[in-house]
């Protein structure tokens, strides 16, 4: 079975992806055997698959920590601590989304096996995206992720808003992929190879003022900025967040962000390192614009999903600041990004879990006013939401503070004081708009006393996200050490 092109080690490197693919296919088949009342078993099967993948990733860690990265499939894939760290966040985030989805899909009357299969296939795309060091692998992985996202966005087939969001997402996504592909083809023309390492070597040999290099950089970055929802390529975000099923909004806001940022870091730090002065310049401008628009546009939103769309945009701005510091060779800049991604995954999914609890058959529950009087109706839930919002705003001792602290630290260490001051100022703006929700929950009167959507899946998801949001905030040391180990491959 093993030959010159496919070794046992190659198989081991993609074992988590293979597991998820098998479980995704199993869900599709298993779905046919299930009665309507037993559809939750699809979610259980998906969770088992995600559990096996997570276990395999955890087992990889001691083999790779402090060691050289494993390079597989003729140098097109790499398995290092960075890839394992990002994949683990993606798998855990997807597991939480599966838990959130069980009750939500039941309420929406759309509990089909394809949903969970698509989530697992999207994960496979994301996992290859964080491991890929070859332009072709990266593009295929990106498209696998994106195609599953488009279908999941339009999953509520009878809901017009869901369909419109999917069409808009698909068309704009297709154009951005085209732009990305232009950039990749220009990089191939420059490097004579699709491998990032070889492209970086060829870029070093070229004159820094070569306009072809700049054009490749612009088209590539524009495509990636679209994927991560950075300004001025963010327009799709609020519309898609609003129209997509809430559980998918939670998924899109977290897992693909982690994968896209990992891909972005790999391209910039490995492939485009010789052009770091140029991409740093662009990233500074885009980060400022992203933080500004995200924070100020969130203030005026009344729909909570659009609100979180703009909140996500502002968080992307903070993440980009970590890249600005990393361009100066600052290790803490990348450490800040990977910690921020971990923290953001749990606090954002926690907030979305509360929104899903608000969803009832007769009430969409996605207006900020729908949270009015939550403290009097369900005090425990209101306090949970308060903790997630404080974390999103970056208030200690929550996890969000640790993420923001490392971003500010990296900016100060690299002498970008004006960016650090701006980032702190926008954190104050963020506190204001997150507190709009707190005011609605604690100060306003409840419109009705109808029961909220609850279930074992939602309870586990809320408990897990709360535990991580508090644990990372109160005892961050092990998470910081893991994050430092995750970025080591870029600096060794």
């Amino acid at each position: 079975m093993w030959n010159a092109f496919f070794h046992r080690a190659d198989y081991l490197a993609i074992k988590p992806e293979v597991l998820l693919t098998m479980f995704g296919l199993a869900v599709l088949l298993f779905d046919f055997l299930l009665e309507k009342r037993d559809k939750y078993l699809n979610a259980v099967l998906a969770l088992i698959g995600l559990g096996f993948a997570a276990l395999q990733l955890v087992l990889f860690w001691p083999l790779l920590a402090g060691q050289a990265a494993y390079s597989g499939f003729g140098g097109t894939l790499t398995l290092d601590t960075f890839a394992v760290y990002a994949k683990l966040i993606i798998v855990l985030a997807t597991a939480i989304v599966v838990l959130l989805s069980m009750k939500y899909l039941e309420i929406e009357g759309a509990h089909y096996g394809e949903y969970y299969a698509l989530l697992l296939f999207a994960d496979v795309g994301m996992m290859f995206l964080v491991s890929g060091v070859d332009l072709i692998v990266l593009f295929i992985a990106l498209e696998l992720m994106a195609l599953c996202e488009y279908v999941l966005t339009g999953f509520l087939r009878v809901n017009r808003r869901s369909n419109e969001a999917a069409v808009k997402f698909f068309l704009l996504g297709a154009f951005s992929s085209g732009l990305l592909l232009y950039g990749m083809s220009l990089l191939y023309a420059i490097g004579g190879s699709t491998k990032l390492g070889i492209i970086a070597e060829r870029l070093r040999d070229r004159a820094p003022s070569d306009p072809i290099c700049w054009l490749a950089l612009i088209t590539l970055l524009a495509g990636i900025y679209f994927k991560i929802a950075a300004v001025p390529f963010h327009q799709w975000t609020p519309d898609v967040y609003e129209g997509a099923p809430t559980s998918i909004t939670a998924f899109i806001s977290v897992a693909p962000k982690v994968a896209s940022f990992a891909f972005f870091i790999r391209i910039l730090i490995v492939g485009l390192w010789p052009m770091r002065a140029e991409w740093q310049l662009l990233t500074i401008g885009v980060a400022i614009a992203t933080m500004t628009l995200g924070n100020f546009a969130a203030i005026t939103q009344t729909n909570i999903k659009r609100f979180f769309g703009y909140s996500t945009i502002s968080h992307v701005g903070y993440l980009l600041l970590g890249l600005v510091a990393a361009a100066d060779g600052n290790r803490e800049g990348l450490t800040a990004i990977v910690i921020y991604l971990l923290v953001y995954a749990f606090m954002n999914l926690g907030a979305f879990a509360v929104i899903i609890v608000m969803r009832r058959k007769d009430l969409i529950g996605d207006e900020i006013d729908d949270l009015a009087g939550l403290m009097s109706r369900a005090p425990g839930l209101a306090i949970l939401m308060l903790i997630f919002l404080l974390s999103l705003a970056g208030i200690p001792p929550t996890a969000g503070f640790i993420g923001k602290y490392f971003i500010f630290l990296s900016l100060v260490e690299t002498g970008h004081y004006y960016l650090a001051v701006l980032a702190v100022a926008y954190a104050v703006v963020a506190l204001y708009y997150y507190f709009r929700i707190v005011v609605a929950m604690f100060m306003k009167k409840a419109p009705d006393a109808a029961p909220l959507a609850t279930g074992p899946g939602l309870t586990v998801a809320l408990s897990a996200t709360l535990a991580m949001t508090l644990l990372i905030g109160i005892y961050p040391q092990p998470f910081i050490l893991w994050a430092r180990e995750a970025v080591r491959p870029f600096f060794s």
Binding site: V158, N159, R160, R161, E164, V167, K168, L171, L172, F175, S176, G178, L179, Y182, S209, P211, W214, L215, L217, I218, T219, L221, A222, F226, P232, F233, Q235, W236, E278, L281, L282, G285, V286
Partner: protein
């Protein structure tokens, strides 16, 4: 977008050949805007000796302009679609 009909800004419908031309041009909008912006920036950089700032910034602004234009076309098509389905039907939520 239903039926593949995109109206002109004036509200007048496009003929079949106009639609073919229109849809064929969509794929070129974003890259053409990016390359156009970049070319303008490069020329300005040479003139003002600011290389590579304006090339990079104008290229990015051009690409963003292309995306905004696509979004504008989509929004117009959606509005047109809503107009054709003003009775909304059972699937409207």
């Amino acid at each position: 977008m239903r039926g593949g009909v995109v109206p002109k800004a004036s509200g007048k419908q496009l003929s079949l050949w106009e639609q073919v031309g229109f849809y064929s041009s969509l794929g070129f909008i974003v890259p053409a805007a990016a390359v156009g912006g970049f070319a303008l920036g490069w020329w300005l950089d040479r003139w003002l000796h600011t290389s590579p700032v304006l090339s990079l910034v104008m290229g990015m602004v051009g690409a963003a302009g292309g995306v905004v234009e696509i979004l504008r076309i989509l929004t117009r098509a959606e509005k047109h679609d809503d107009g054709n389905n003003s009775s909304a039907g059972p699937d409207a939520k």
